[in-house]
């Protein structure tokens, strides 16, 4: 995935200002930035959900539209963006990951059912398959959506705050699953506020503040003086917020 010089504007608000980012197969990239730094917009731009004013996105050498058609992009939404009272089961949600592989009536074939069963097994939700999606714990909900991405077989996996409201055990499970998906060749982008857990999860980290301030080894990126840049703290005592 190669995003170059993305600029996105919502009316007066400049959400992204020439942001460039490359994701590589078999690597997990942690996306760090404060609220309003453009993380969600970056996800949307990669998926082609917002049209950037400037800049391009290439995925697996093709356009985002081609990548979407080949079901290459998997997305795990933020919890706030999901209607948890919606009458679908865990199994239904994971099956939605297979829709890109099906005919237009989305009737599941044997391969689809197998992929769903296998994905549920891997996220340890087999016993919960027929629960309504809202009747899971916070961590189980996230795992259900990760299973959707696994069943889809996405080669680019985008996760928006997968660790928010998640217990330790689920966090460990999700981290392990993402490491496994990366080992199998997926390029993974994870936005997170959980900075302590980042080095254990990610191969690299990105500081976002409308543009990419820094992209490199998680330990380096997470140094206090670097974080201060992204979170707008003035550690050096300069006063330039006029």
């Amino acid at each position: 995935m190669d995003a170059a010089g993305l600029t996105v504007r919502y009316g007066e608000v400049l959400a992204l200002d020439g942001a460039s980012l490359q994701l590589h197969p078999s690597r997990i990239c942690g996306l760090v930035g404060m609220n309003g730094s453009g993380k969600s917009t970056l996800f949307k731009a990669i998926m082609g959900l917002v049209k950037p004013e400037a800049g391009t996105v290439r995925i697996n050498g093709g356009t985002p539209a081609q990548a979407r058609k080949s079901a290459a992009i998997g997305y795990v939404p933020q919890s706030e963006d999901v209607d948890w009272s919606f009458p679908v089961s865990v199994h239904d949600v994971v099956m939605m990951g297979r829709y890109g592989h099906m005919g237009f009536t989305r009737r599941p074939a044997r391969a689809d059912k197998l992929a769903v069963a296998e994905a549920l097994e891997r996220v340890e939700l087999t016993g919960y398959a027929h629960r309504q999606i809202g009747q899971l714990s916070g961590g189980q909900k996230k795992r259900a959506f990760v299973a959707r991405g696994i069943a889809q077989g996405a080669s680019v996996l985008l996760l928006d705050e997968p660790f928010a409201g998640v217990d330790k055990r689920s966090e460990a499970t999700i981290t392990r699953l993402l490491r496994e998906q990366a080992a199998a060749g997926a390029a993974i982008l994870v936005s997170t506020h959980d900075l302590h857990a980042l080095p254990a999860l990610a191969d690299e980290a990105v500081l976002l503040m409308q543009k990419v301030l820094m992209h490199g080894d998680p330990h380096t990126v997470l140094r206090p003086q670097n974080l201060a840049l992204a979170f707008g703290l003035d550690v050096l005592g300069r006063n330039d917020d006029s």
Partner: protein, 302 residues
């Protein structure tokens, strides 16, 4: 008079048979569509589109083209105008909906007032179940069958769209197209229901069945069965009640729907306001009885 006579006697009149066919068709199609509308949060949109088709239907009558074409045109016009007002001004969506649909509805009323016609176009507003002709029944059946077939054929895509439009987009589906298709089907369905309950009450048929079913099940597939089953039953009961009580048939059907919703809202097993307490209490009693009946020492192994 026994129950069978009560049911069969009115059907001896041709107009009652036509009314029943119309009511049942409209109820079934509207109810299936309503499952998606209530889950997407498009109840107001349903209200808007079903009112806004009025001028389209009147114009279609004036130019002798099928009602469905006029309705589709004005349904999309309404949605387009609502989107334009919302996106290009500081007016919020609910206000935009209110402005657009009431203005288009008013245009329909004005058009009716200047249209000379042998059939009373006022019937479109309040519905005229008992005056539906055989030809109209046929048209309603065909339109209803088309709308129902489209909804069921693409049901999985519509459900994905309602649940997670972002994912739909990410896997190469076109959420805008799916949304537009649902709105088009909404306009078509409104035409089907016009004859039954009239423009003003169509919205009840488009919201209440889906909302009622949502309180009764956690499975979308079951909602798609429960909603039309309830809605059809309500329409039949409402129609018979209006026959014997000599009241407005459209109004009666919606009253029954509302009453059934109220019952479900109160007494549904898992979601009902009182229902969940009653069932929880019953469950507690059962476990207590089982514990009391269990022989001494049976609990040790647990």
């Amino acid at each position: 008079m026994n129950l069978l006579d009560i049911i069969i006697e009115p059907l001896g009149y041709g107009f009652m048979a036509n009314a029943l066919a119309t009511a049942v068709t409209a109820a079934a199609v509207c109810a299936v569509l309503s499952c998606w509308l209530v889950l997407i949060g498009w109840s107001l949109m349903g209200d808007a589109v079903s009112h806004a088709v009025l001028p389209g239907v009147v114009l279609a009558y004036m130019f002798s083209v099928p009602f469905a074409i006029g309705a589709l045109l004005f349904g999309f016009l309404a949605v387009g105008l609502i989107g334009a007002v919302r996106d290009t001004s500081r007016i919020k969506e609910d206000a935009a909906i209110g402005i657009v649909f009431s203005t288009l509805f008013a245009l329909g009323l004005v058009l009716i007032s200047v249209t000379p016609s042998e059939t009373d176009l006022g019937h479109i507003i309040f519905g005229n179940l008992l005056g539906v002709s055989k030809a109209e029944v046929l048209q309603i059946l065909i339109l209803g069958a088309l709308a129902l077939a489209a909804l069921l054929l693409w049901r999985r895509d519509f459900t994905l769209y309602a649940f997670d439009a972002t994912h739909a987009h990410a896997i190469g589906l076109n959420p805008r197209l799916l949304g537009a298709a649902l709105l088009g089907l909404l306009a078509l369905t409104s035409v089907v229901a016009l004859q039954a309950v009239g423009v003003i009450l169509v919205v009840a048929m488009l919201i209440i069945p889906g909302a009622t079913a949502h309180l009764l099940t956690d499975r979308f597939g079951r909602m798609l069965l429960i909603a039309p089953a309830i809605s059809v039953a309500c329409s039949v009961i409402g129609l018979y009640a209006s026959y014997y009580l000599d009241t407005a048939s459209g109004g009666m059907i919606v009253l029954v729907q509302g009453a059934v919703f109220a019952l479900v809202y109160l007494f549904a097993p898992a979601q009902g306001l009182l229902g969940r307490r009653i069932f929880a209490a019953a469950r507690r009693r059962r476990t207590l009885e089982m514990d009391a009946r269990a022989p001494e020492g049976a609990g040790i192994g647990r």
